[in-house]
């Protein structure tokens, strides 16, 4: 799980262009949206694309993202359970 969390942090930094940020700067338990990384709705769409492209996970309902994107750890747990690649 820790390996997946670190990989996910690197992917998030890459797809969301989080300039100057390193994986260790991201708290895997902190909220991704709001007070955490301060991501916005376009970032949420990018994360949905990341799930599909890198892990073969298609969200049926965009509202599922609210639960899945609570934190990097929650996201990694979801990927672990649902990944198809």
């Amino acid at each position: 799980m820790e390996e997946l969390i670190n990989k996910l942090k690197e992917e998030i930094i890459d797809v969301l262009n989080l300039e100057g940020m390193k994986p260790e700067d991201i708290d895997e338990n902190a909220p991704l949206f709001g007070e955490g990384l301060g991501l916005d709705s376009i970032d949420a769409l990018e994360l949905i694309v990341l799930l599909e492209k890198n892990y073969g996970i298609k969200l049926k309902n965009a509202n599922e993202g609210k639960e899945i994107f609570k934190s990097v750890r929650v996201m990694a747990e979801y990927i672990n359970e649902h990944r198809t690649k």
Partner: protein, 189 residues
């Protein structure tokens, strides 16, 4: 010729190698290996992580607005209905449109929402409005070339149509491949 109903308070220019405020060079590009817009962002001490998510047209516009307003005495905390934005260019969002096209040119592509969202030229006015909390007139025109007289006419018309407007960030923001041509100013009624 329309009589001018405003005063210019500050001007800036950005090309592919130089940034100027009121004719004074602020930064000259020396390192061609580093992205010019990022160099300028760091050189003026800008702190706005969203900058790095923007397309090049928005980066150019947001940097122009930053050069104009970073030392300007104005209300940074509240949305200002008395501030407007009027911009124009000739290349529209073509620079980013090409980039988006490249990202979808393969089979089984995944279109990037973050790239797609910038395939409209007027997004740059929105980015500047968000950054500087302007809430008045906001418009973007795609024209064959820069026409300062037309720009001034549009500013005059905006002042006539919006009595509450006091300040307008206006000018030309054109980015197309290697070409960078930013000529912006802040005017006051």
């Amino acid at each position: 010729m329309t009589e001018q109903s405003f005063n210019t308070l500050i001007k800036c220019e950005i090309t592919a190698s130089t940034a100027k405020v009121n004719g004074q060079t602020i930064l000259q590009r020396t390192d061609a290996s580093e992205d010019w817009f990022s160099q300028l962002y760091h050189a003026i001490g800008m702190q706005y992580p969203k900058f790095f998510k923007m397309d090049r047209l928005c980066k150019a516009g947001i940097l122009g607005a930053e050069l104009l307003l970073k030392d300007f005495d104005y209300d940074r905390e509240n949305v200002k209905a008395d501030w407007g934005i009027i911009l124009m260019n000739s290349a529209s969002s073509l620079d980013n449109d090409r980039h988006f096209q490249e990202t979808i040119a393969t089979d089984n592509y995944y279109p990037s929402p973050a790239v797609f969202v910038y395939t409209l030229a007027n997004i740059v006015t929105g980015e500047i409005a968000i950054r500087h909390k302007t809430g008045g007139e906001s418009s973007f025109y795609v024209m064959p070339s820069f026409d300062e007289q037309l720009m001034n006419t549009l500013v005059n018309q905006a002042y006539m149509a919006n009595p509450e407007l006091t300040h307008i960030i206006c000018g030309w923001v054109n980015v197309d491949g290697e070409e960078v041509d930013v000529r912006m100013k802040v005017v006051e009624r």
